[in-house]
Structure formats: C-alpha cells, structure tokens
C-alpha cells in the first residue's frame, strides 16, 4: 500500500513537470499554439492521481490512520551534512502523505486545472492566436503546479523549502510574464525579494531545527523525541518559521509584494496569488502545529498578525479602484483570517477557509480577467460600469464569488469564516471583534466593486464598442468554480471522511495540541451565525446604498475626509516607508562599500607600495647613470667586498 501511495505521489509530481519540460521543448519546435494540451494533460493526470491518493488514504482504517499518516515515504537520498561515520545519514527526498496533504493536493490541482483551461481562452489575442510567450506561460504554469505539489508533499523541511522557493520562482517568472512592462519587471523582482526576506527567517528556523534535532524529517521533528529536543526553543523556531509564512502569504509587514504582483496575467493572479501559493504559509503553520502549539507566544503572534492583517488589508481595499488590486487586498485580508484561525487553535477551520477561499477567490479573479478581456485590458472600475448586460455569465459568477467572499449565508465562505470568527471569539474576544468588523468591511468593498463594475448605466472605456462575453474556454471554468464557491462549504457538514474536520483531525490534532473550536464543526452557535450573516448583508446593502442609490456619498467622503482617505488610498504609505528606511540606506551603503574599494583600500595599497616605489626611484636616480664603467665599478667593489668577507670569515 505504501509503495502505491509513494508512487502516486511521484506521479503527481512528475506529470506536471514532464508537461512543463515538454512544452519547453515543443516551444522550440513551433507547435506553440497547442502547448496548452500538454499542461492540461499533465495537471489532469496529477489530479486523477491525487483523487486516487485520497481514496487510498480513505481505505486506511481509522485506527491505523495516525500511524500511517506519520510515515515518511522516502524516494531517494538527496545529500547529507555529516560524516559518514556520524550516523545521521542523508537528507532524503521524502514525502509526507496524510489527510492534510490530500486536501491541499485536491485543492491545488483542481483549481490549477480550471485556471489552465481558462488561460487557453485568456492568453489569446482578438484573432484567437496565442499571445507572445503563449507556450512559455503554460510551461511556467505547469512548473508551478509541480512546485506547489512538491511543497505540499514534502516530508521534511528541506523539501518544504525547495517547494517554497520554487513556487516563489514561478511566481517571479509569471508576475514578470509581460517583462517588457517595467512595472511588471519591477513587481516580479519585488515579489521575489520580499519573499526572500521572509525566507531568511524561514531558513534560519530550519537551521535551528537541525541544530536542536539533528534531523529535518517531519517524522522526527514532530515526534515526541523531536519536540523534546526543541524544548525551550519552540518560540524562536516557530517565530522564524512564521517569518517565512508572513512573506509567502503576504501578511503584515511583508504584504507589499502581493498587490504589485497583479501585474502578472490574471490567471496567474487567480492561481498563484489567490488560491494556492499564498496559502502555503497557512499550510506550513498548520503542518508545523506541533511546534507552534508548544509556544503560546508564537500562537499569539500568529493570531495577532493574522487578525491585524485582515483588518488592515480590508481597509485599503475600500478605497482602491483597480479590480485586481481590490481582490489582492481582499486575498491578504482573507489570508489574515486563516492565520487568525491558526493562532486561535482552529487549524482545521483555517484549512477549511483555505479550501473554500481557493474556489471563490479564483472565481473572482478569473471573473475580473473576463472583464479585463472584454474591456481591452482596462481594469479600473471608474472607467466602466453596467457590464452585467453584456457579460451575463461573468456577472452572475462574479456575484456568486462575491457573495461567498462576503460571507453571505449558505455560501461557502460563510461557513469557513464563521468557524474562524467563532474560534477567535472564544480565544481572544478582541481579535474576534476585529474579525467581525473585517467581515462587514469585506462585504462592503466586495459589493462596492460589483456595483460599480456590473450595475448602473453601461459605461465602456474608449475603444471598446461592445462588452462581449468571453469564449467557452473561459466561461466553463467560471461556472465550475462557482459550483465550488457555493458548495465547498458542504465539506464542513458532510459525514465520514468527507467532513473536513473529521478528515484533518488526526493530522492537525494528533496529540490534542489544538483545542477549542473543533467541536464547533456542526455550527451549533446560532447567534454568531446570525450576527455574521447579518453583518454581511448589512455590508452589501450599505454598498448598494452608497454606490447605487446615493453615489454622491462616494464622491463626498474623500473630500470631507481627505487625510484618512489618502492614507488608505496610498496603502498607509508602507512602500514609501520601506523605500526610505531600508532600500535607500542599503543602496547608499552599497555605494559606500564600492567607494571604500576605490578610494580607501586602493589608497592604502598605494601607500604601502609607495615604499618600494620610492626606494626604486632613488636607486634609479643615483645608481642607474648609464655609464658602463659605473656599473663595472660597482661590480668590482662588490666582488672585492665578497672576497674580503670570505677571507675575513675563514
């Protein structure tokens, strides 16, 4: 059985990787317009394998699950740190295959497949020809799927880091897909570098784990022995690991790259910067529950950063006009929810929110992409409006995604968000309150965007005559995703292995470290459900009132409150702050170093070499007169001296 599962995991990795490599090779051969088939095939094969994997895992009897899930599936030896006699041996390429892995795999692969299918329609120009770099795009997407699966399947911290960096690389390559746009190139660089800052901490955390445990395998580190070895260091390890999560999942204070990442093609934003890659941080914290839960400080930090980011990003989203950026801030905010859930000991709920969020946020992004496609690349909601008439499917699916995001009762986001808020209220009422406030804001900014873009009198940007619905390649994924956005909440109410809490239980709470909100799964806290449902409805209605009924309010508020509005509109000036505090000083330091080289060190060198140089000059001037007989005289005197010395010595 184990062999089977390991093999399936290998196939999950190989299928997209092969797809990517083959596209790269075929790209050279000029079959570029068909490149998407390889990506679709690869990812679909991986999805099938992931479903089989899920079934295999389900086949394990309940009693044996905890043991089976903790197993490490070694593929081959990678490299090693210690002497061959030291005994600790190799860092293997190993997988951890358990319920959390399977949930992540299914989420990632299903969304990826839909996004790739969508891209077939999206990445074409008006004549149906693939855009420049068409095959490159699919090669990168397939590579991303591979990397993300590697991250999720990793059975030790090294492999986790590998996946972690590789997804970062794909993100870099895809954000910079339109590399000729300076803003895209800058955004790609920024994303990579900000992530690197987070990875600095992450890497140190891994080193620290190795230092204490002498091993990086989950199987050991999360075992009792490993936890004992980490005793006293949990807080620092957890916080360092969390640095990485903060970078990857765009939490405060490293959130700055995600809005800029919207420079990439929209399917990329949907897949990488909403549904999957940015949730890697959430996955990692959930995976490392054994470390995090041992440190109340770390848990508090996770919860506070999550809660604060959720509110912070939501406030910025209120004022933005770029649809994709609104969605980006909303992603940051929703990721904040997930971390809040993790921090208040509700990891299953966090993963549940990750799961639902993947569908509805991908749906929203793809909807935005559909709008963008129809508007000839325009994405500013001030420049168009009333699109619901022309883009019926897009508008309808966008509504569904919006309702799910806003936590409208019975939509998927409602269930998952509610669980987190519930856990937060139980654990840290202040954070719970903030989360409720954020829910209200979420509904408001979501529907602000929807009302401005899809309703009211039809306005089109110059150059666009009609708002055309997109091709079937794009609308079918939208429809499929909206099924997910409506129904994904069902996994909290299903029974047996299909209930996400029951399924994840043995993994995220094997030692009972996570406690608290787990029992809430059935949704018995009716009051909270009513309150949060009401909040989302209030937010929606408020948005309708402000932007449809009394649009004057929307114009007047920024004028009445210029300060706060500017603060939000300029994203709290965080970018400017970083530039002034970090980037510029570093750059100046670099110039200083280079100046040191040129002036100080080389001057010192000059001074040192001045001694032989001046002696040489003196000799040249005094001795080197050019007359043969002068030299001969010198030589004769020298010989006589030597003779004298020898004779006197003997």
């Amino acid at each position: 059985m184990t062999g089977d599962v390991t093999q399936l995991a290998v196939w999950i990795l190989l299928a997209p990787l092969m797809g990517s490599i083959l596209i790269g090779m075929i790209g050279l051969r000029g079959l570029r317009d068909r490149a998407h088939w390889l990506a679709i095939l690869g990812v679909a094969a991986a999805l099938v394998a992931a479903v089989m994997l899920f079934n295999d895992l389900r086949a394990i009897p309940n009693a044996e699950r905890a043991a089976a899930f903790e197993k490490s599936h070694v593929v081959y030896d990678w490299f090693r740190a210690d002497a061959p006699t030291g005994g600790r041996g190799w860092f293997p390429v190993e997988f951890r295959i358990d319920s959390l892995t399977s949930v992540m795999l299914l989420t990632v692969l299903s969304v990826s497949l839909l996004v790739i299918v969508y891209s077939v329609g999206y990445m074409r120009d008006h004549h149906g020809q693939g855009e420049r770099g068409y095959e490159r795009f699919f090669a990168f997407l397939a590579l991303f799927v591979f990397s993300m699966c590697a991250l999720v399947l990793a059975g030790n911290f090294l492999l986790l880091y590998l996946g972690w960096e590789l997804v970062g690389l794909c993100s870099y390559l895809l954000i910079g897909f339109y590399y000729q746009k300076p803003s895209a190139a800058a955004a790609a660089k920024k994303a990579f570098l900000v992530n690197r800052v987070g990875d600095f901490g992450f890497g140190l955390g891994i080193l620290l784990i190795y230092w204490r445990c002498g091993d990086l395998s989950y199987t050991y580190v999360f075992s009792d022995a490993g936890r004992a070895a980490l005793d006293g260091y949990e807080t620092i390890v957890a916080l360092l690991l969390f640095c990485g999560a903060v970078g990857k999942s765009a939490q405060l204070p490293l959130h700055v790259w995600l809005p800029d990442a919207m420079e990439g093609p929209t399917p990329v934003s949907a897949l990488i910067h909403a549904a999957t890659m940015v949730t890697a941080g959430v996955y990692m914290v959930a995976r490392c529950g054994a470390i995090f839960t041992a440190s109340p400080t770390a848990m508090a930090v996770v919860a506070i950063i999550g809660g604060a980011t959720a509110l912070f990003a939501a406030t910025i989203a209120l004022t933005q006009f770029d649809m994709k950026r609104i969605l980006a801030y909303s992603t940051i905010s929703q990721l904040g929810y997930m971390f809040l859930g993790l921090g208040v000991h509700a990891p299953a709920s966090a993963i549940f929110h990750l799961f639902t969020h993947a569908y509805f946020k991908a749906l929203l992004f793809l909807g935005a992409g559909s709008v963008m496609h129809a508007m000839a690349g325009e994405i500013d909601i001030r420049r168009f409006g009333g699109l619901a008439r022309g883009l019926k499917i897009t508008a309808a699916t966008f509504w569904i995604g919006g309702l799910a995001l806003a936590g409208f009762p019975l939509f998927s986001g409602f269930w998952s968000k509610d669980e987190i808020i519930h856990a937060a209220l139980n654990h840290a009422p202040i954070l719970g309150g903030l989360a409720l406030l954020t829910a209200l804001l979420t509904a408001f900014y979501t529907f602000r965007m929807i009302f401005l873009a899809f309703h009211g009198p039809q306005r089109l940007p110059p150059g666009v005559e009609h708002a055309h619905e997109s091709v079937a390649w794009m609308t079918v994924p939208l429809l499929l995703l909206s099924i997910g956005a409506i129904g994904a909440g069902g996994v909290a109410m299903a029974s047996g292995d299909f209930n996400i809490h029951a399924w994840l239980g043995p993994v995220v709470a094997p030692h009972g470290e996570w406690s608290g909100a787990e029992s809430h799964a059935g949704g018995e806290d009716l009051t909270l459900m009513i309150v949060s449902g009401a909040l989302s409805i209030v937010g929606t209605i408020a948005a309708w009132y402000v932007y449809r009924r009394r649009p004057a309010i929307a114009t007047v508020v920024p004028i009445l409150l210029p300060g706060p509005h500017q603060l939000l509109y300029q994203k709290y000036y965080v970018d400017e702050l970083y530039d002034a505090l970090i980037v510029s000083p570093l750059r100046r330091l670099g110039r200083f170093c280079f100046g040191m080289d040129r002036y100080v060190i080389n001057t010192l060198l000059w001074l040192i070499t001045a001694v032989p140089r001046s002696i040489g000059f003196m000799l040249k001037e005094t001795m080197q007169v050019g007359a043969i007989q002068g030299y001969a005289m010198g030589m004769a005197v020298g010989v006589l001296l030597i003779v004298w010395v020898v004779l006197a010595g003997s």
Partner: protein, 100 residues
C-alpha cells in the same frame, strides 16, 4: 708545490691591470683589450691551479677557454665596429641608453 704561486701572482697582476684599465679608459677598443687581459689572468690562474693540484684539468680547461676566448674576441670586435658605425666615435661615454 710552491712553484705554482708565482704564476698565480702573475695571473692576479694581469687581472688587476685589466680591471684598472677597464675602469679608467674610455676607448671601447682599449676597454675590450683590458677585458682580454683580465681574461688571460684568470686563465693563467686556472693553469696554475692545475699545476698546484698536479693534474691536467686546469690546462685542459685552459685550452678550451682559449678557443672560446678567440671566438668571443671576434664577436666583441665585430660589435665594437658596429657601435662605431652607429655613432662615429669609440667613446664609451656616448652610450648611455641604460640610464633609468
């Protein structure tokens, strides 16, 4: 074997004369001749040493050196002629290109 000493003395005297001549005269040919005198002084010493040690190595080597010296003298004089053609003078002072 004390009778080697006079020869050595003579060799030293020849060497000294040659050296002084080389250092004091300015005419290239004279200087060249002085080097030859020094050379003969050394040669004489070689032979005297052979005499002193009672073998023929010194003399053999001396003969060998004589031949080389003849060749070298031919070359040296040729060089002097060439130098004279360049500058039209034999004054050693006129060659100061080695000045730093």
């Amino acid at each position: 074997m004390p009778y080697a000493v006079p020869f050595m003395m003579l060799g030293a005297v020849l060497f000294g004369i040659g050296l002084v001549g080389f250092l004091t005269r300015r005419n290239l040919i004279i200087m060249f001749l002085c080097t030859e005198v020094m050379f003969q002084g050394v040669l004489l010493n070689l032979i005297a040493m052979g005499l002193r040690h009672g073998n023929l190595q010194g003399q053999g080597f001396g003969l060998f050196v004589l031949v080389v010296a003849a060749v070298e003298a031919g070359l040296g004089l040729a060089i002097v002629v060439l130098l004279y053609r360049r500058r039209g003078t034999l004054d050693a002072e006129s060659w100061r290109t080695m000045r730093g």
